[in-house]
């Protein structure tokens, strides 16, 4: 499909703005724009058609089943789109005086109360824009906490699991800590011996996802938290998998001191093809003094923003964070009320149902009941037929399903990480199972059809190696390269896709 720049024609335009007849103000020559930017020039009809056509080439939860493990692709209720567009939210300036933004402050206050209850902890900052930023913020809190105790120079190490999401080690590095990895035992729990060997006075804390990225709840979590707390270290909970345990088990009760929540996962903020998201952090009281400013505080019968926090780490994002995201997630939670527990129950039921029906055809590295998601391995297909997890994923597209996350977690070869979420009907799960079983059969009967999949998408399998080698990252106008006649470099590469 042509780029909008290729549909552009000089002098065409869609938009119109008011023109007041006022004398023109001059920009000093040396600061004035010399060459006009080559933005698209199209009329509104073609603008609408272009983006309608692009949407038609995209797949969302609205289009069908999207079991992308670790991403919790649940239904996004339409009522949330209605309320987030209320003028009182949509057209509110972030620096509006506090007395004129009480509704916004009230919503944030209530959302904080809810998240604290769900996590079993004491204080919340809604500011982080995503889970990764929540991680970074949480680690900054750790540093500030130990600095405050004069242990800044000792507490240098943060431990993560070898199943950890890539953001965990990356956040550790960005926040200036040293990284240490701990192994996973044969039941998918943290290896306690390895752990004991590594935790000491240099340990600042643990970052853990529980249930883990294997979709398994750590059976020794109490022991784990004891090990860290006894060593004077803190525990950080990566909340990406919170959808499994709302109202069932609370991070604070498990012993975690800092939690981030991905509002765009558990609490249904639509992810918009990459974002926005929200990564609020929820902490134990000992960490509250270090939270980012401003804090929403009660003041008489009103609310205000408190900047006067001497020990704060500062700010990690502008204003109070991604407010629109808060509105949607707040609305989502209020629709459920205490039945949030049922949400998690059904998410776990759906996952276990799929697991039970698929375990015969694909390898199951850790044979336990799963939580909201589970990880299969296509290594049996690879061994027997040379069919990889990538091939399975691409072939699923032809059956009208979005593939699961693949090649993650890294400790599982040919990983297929499947998360159905609670909003899918049994009929949908059954149809997915039929497709997965059919693919396993095809692997034996007709492997080539898998290797060349997908066959029914707007494009066939894309050459990712060529993309990386050529690095064509913008339209070149007159000088745009013609990759079609560049040699093929290979096909989609086998690394983590999803999560």
């Amino acid at each position: 499909m042509r780029l909008i720049f290729e549909k552009s024609s000089p002098g065409r335009r869609a938009g119109s703005l008011p023109a007041y007849d006022l004398p023109r103000a001059e920009v000093p020559e040396e600061l004035r724009r010399q060459r006009p930017p080559r933005l698209p020039e199209v009329a509104e009809p073609d603008l609408v058609r272009h983006f309608t056509a692009l949407a038609d080439r995209n797949f969302g939860v609205d289009t069908g089943f999207y079991p992308l493990g670790s991403c919790t692709m649940k239904h996004n209720p339409r009522v949330n789109e209605r309320v987030v567009n209320l003028p009182g939210f949509r057209d509110l300036h972030p620096l509006q005086e506090e007395e004129a933004s009480q509704g916004a402050l009230e919503l944030m206050w209530r959302l904080e109360e809810i998240l604290a209850e769900v996590c079993g902890l004491d204080a919340v900052s809604l500011q982080p824009a995503a889970g990764s930023q929540g991680e970074l913020t949480g680690l900054m809190l750790m540093r500030a906490y130990f600095a405050d105790r004069g242990e800044a120079d000792e507490r240098r190490v943060v431990i993560t699991a070898d199943t950890a999401h890539g953001t965990n080690p990356a956040s550790v590095a960005m926040s200036g800590f040293e990284l240490q990895k701990v192994a996973t035992d044969d039941r998918g729990n943290l290896d306690l011996d390895d752990l004991r060997a590594k935790v000491d006075g240099r340990t600042a804390g643990l970052m853990l996802t529980n249930p883990s990225t294997l979709g398994l709840f750590d059976e020794h979590i109490e022991e784990v938290s004891k090990i860290f707390h006894d060593a004077g270290a803190l525990l950080y909970y990566d909340g990406a998998n919170l959808n499994a345990v709302c109202g069932i088990s609370r991070p604070g009760d498990m012993g975690f001191d800092i939690v981030h929540i991905n509002l765009h996962k558990t609490f249904s903020q639509p992810h918009g093809g990459g974002g926005p998201g929200g990564g609020p952090i929820v902490v134990r009281d000992i960490l509250e003094p270090f939270l980012p400013v401003p804090a929403v505080v009660r003041d008489g019968d009103g609310l205000r923003l408190d900047y006067d926090r001497p020990k704060t780490i500062g700010k990690v994002r502008g204003y109070c964070g991604p407010f629109g995201v808060f509105v949607r997630s707040y609305a989502f939670i209020r629709a459920y009320g205490p039945a949030l527990r049922e949400m998690s129950e059904v998410a776990v039921l759906n996952a276990n149902y799929l697991l039970a029906r698929l375990r015969g055809a694909y390898d199951l590295p850790f044979d336990r009941l799963c939580m909201h998601e589970f990880v299969l391995s296509a290594r049996n297909l690879k061994r027997e037929h040379g069919i990889t997890a990538l091939d399975v994923a691409k072939r699923l597209m032809d059956f009208g399903f979005h593939p699961p996350t693949i090649y993650f977690p890294l400790i599982v070869p040919e990983a297929l990480m499947i998360e159905p979420t609670e909003t899918e009907a049994k009929e949908t799960l059954d149809a997915f199972v039929e497709a997965m079983l059919a693919i396993a059969d095809e692997a034996a009967a007709d492997p080539q059809v898998l290797k060349e999949a997908p066959h029914h998408r707007p494009v066939r399998r894309l050459d990712e190696v060529k993309a990386a080698k050529r690095a064509v990252v913008k339209y070149g106008f007159e000088a745009h390269p013609d990759l079609a006649h560049a040699p093929a470099e290979g096909q989609a590469v086998e690394f983590q896709k999803g999560a």
Partner: protein, 443 residues
């Protein structure tokens, strides 16, 4: 209300298939000691009409820019967002998609990001743009991280005329990066190249804002030159709306251009979600943080788009990654693309010219002393209101007009200074009304 689809019959059958007797048994691996045994203490569920009524009630406790005549800007602006943006963002295929990990499922959003990257590069005069950062503050911190790795230096120079929100975020991130932050005070509303030269020695980068927080035009080319002279990366923090009339950072030697995208395509929404953009010279392409979309071909040689250069990213490079970012602000960046395509080059230039012309008209009509009389301004300017700007704002609001931002919130000695923003939505008549009200309430 819930969004669950399983009937009781479904549940029975599925439990049986899963080989457990009850829902509770599904959780048997959770140690007894950490099981949550009471009901969550949350307010009762609301039906959809009740939910809408409740949120409407909250929304109406806010005074939005449709309910008072507002001249508040200071980084977030009441620009017009075209209706086509709503229409495109409402498409479920965009709205409810995740990051395009599987390109054959996601050509729509991938091509849109590629188009967005192209538009950002055109506007900033850069070679490569990422798919967006969280907002205009975090992209500045990202730029520091890039600069640190590129230069191996450990100092960041921040002009004091950069949006305070941005500076605060940079200062919060810096320690983790092992960076020290030095600020350069302004002279008469802009940064003096001489002052900058004194501070820039062995800096990784210099961050200046054009137009700056006061709305003043910085001597950007000179500032960039000062930085380049000592091989510190000049990082320009710019407003997309200004780039139809102001020079592209790439054209005056900036190494990296960042900024807050809100003014192109996003509603104010109390500060977010918005998008931050980050673009750089091609030298830094493998140090770029965040997603980047690249062009390629499929098995039949047809053109297509994929997430590329992923070896920079956390899911592959782990602790060695150029950033920890995964979720970004794609939907808001898409809004930006639609908005910019709606405007076109001519529309963008006209918008910039209109904002400037209105600004000059406002300065003249208000007749208040300018805080920085010698500077050219874009869209925004500072005046002295003769008494506490906070009080003036309170009194003006009582008359239905929000006159702007109290600079005293961030700058010493400016308690009587008001920062006034005028977008194309404010008519000359609106400005007359502001003049009238300030005439009544200014000291």
């Amino acid at each position: 209300m819930s969004y669950l689809a399983l009937t009781d019959a479904d549940r029975e059958e599925m439990l049986a298939t899963a080989g457990v007797a009850s829902i509770d048994e599904l959780f048997r691996d959770i140690p007894e000691g950490v099981r949550f045994r009471r009901e969550l203490d949350l307010e009762p569920a609301l039906s959809e009409p009740e939910l809408v009524a409740h949120l409407t009630e909250l929304a109406e406790r806010n005074v939005d820019t449709g309910r008072e005549l507002s001249f508040l800007g200071a980084g977030v602006y009441d620009h017009y967002v075209p209706a086509v943006v709503d229409a495109v963002l409402a498409r479920g295929e965009f709205l409810t998609a995740y990051t395009p990990y599987q390109p054959e499922m996601s050509q729509g959003v991938l091509q849109a990001i590629f188009e967005y990257q192209t538009a950002i590069c055109e506007l900033t005069g850069m070679d490569v743009s990422n798919a967006s950062g969280y907002d205009g503050t975090t992209v500045a911190a990202d730029a520091c991280f890039v600069a640190k790795h590129v230069t191996g230096r450990e100092k960041v120079v921040l002009c004091e005329t950069v949006n305070p929100q941005v500076r605060q975020v940079v200062k919060t991130y810096a320690p983790g990066f092992g960076l020290e932050v030095v600020e350069v005070a302004h002279r008469g509303g802009v940064t003096d190249p001489g002052d900058l030269r004194d501070a820039v020695a062995d800096a990784a980068c210099v961050i200046f804002q054009q137009p700056n927080f006061f709305g003043c035009l910085e001597p950007a080319p000179d500032l960039a030159a000062v930085a380049n002279d000592v091989e510190a990366l000049p990082v320009a923090h710019v407003d997309l709306v200004s780039l139809g009339v102001l020079e592209a950072p790439g054209a005056y030697g900036a190494a990296i251009a960042v900024g807050e995208g809100q003014s192109a395509g996003n509603f104010q929404s109390y500060g977010g979600p918005h998008y931050g953009f980050l673009a750089a010279r091609s030298d830094f392409i493998r140090r770029m943080p965040g997603r980047i979309v690249g062009e390629t071909t499929d098995l039949s040689g047809e053109r297509g788009y994929v997430l590329t250069l992923q070896t920079r990213e956390q899911h592959i490079r782990r602790e060695k990654a150029t950033s920890n970012i995964t979720t970004n602000q794609t939907l808001l960046a898409l809004a930006g693309l639609v908005h910019l395509a709606w405007l076109g080059p001519q529309g963008l230039r006209e918008q910039g010219e209109t904002c400037m012309a209105l600004g000059e008209y406002a300065k003249e009509r208000l007749g208040l002393p300018l805080v920085f009389p010698d500077q050219t301004t874009f869209k925004e300017f500072a005046v002295r209101v003769g008494r506490s700007a906070k009080d003036v704002i309170r009194d003006a609001r009582a008359r239905g007009v929000h006159p702007g931002y109290a600079l005293g919130r961030d700058y010493g000695g400016l308690d009587d200074a008001l920062l006034v923003a005028v977008t194309e939505k404010r008519t000359p008549a609106d400005i007359d009304r502001l003049a009238e009200v300030l005439g009544e309430v200014a000291g």
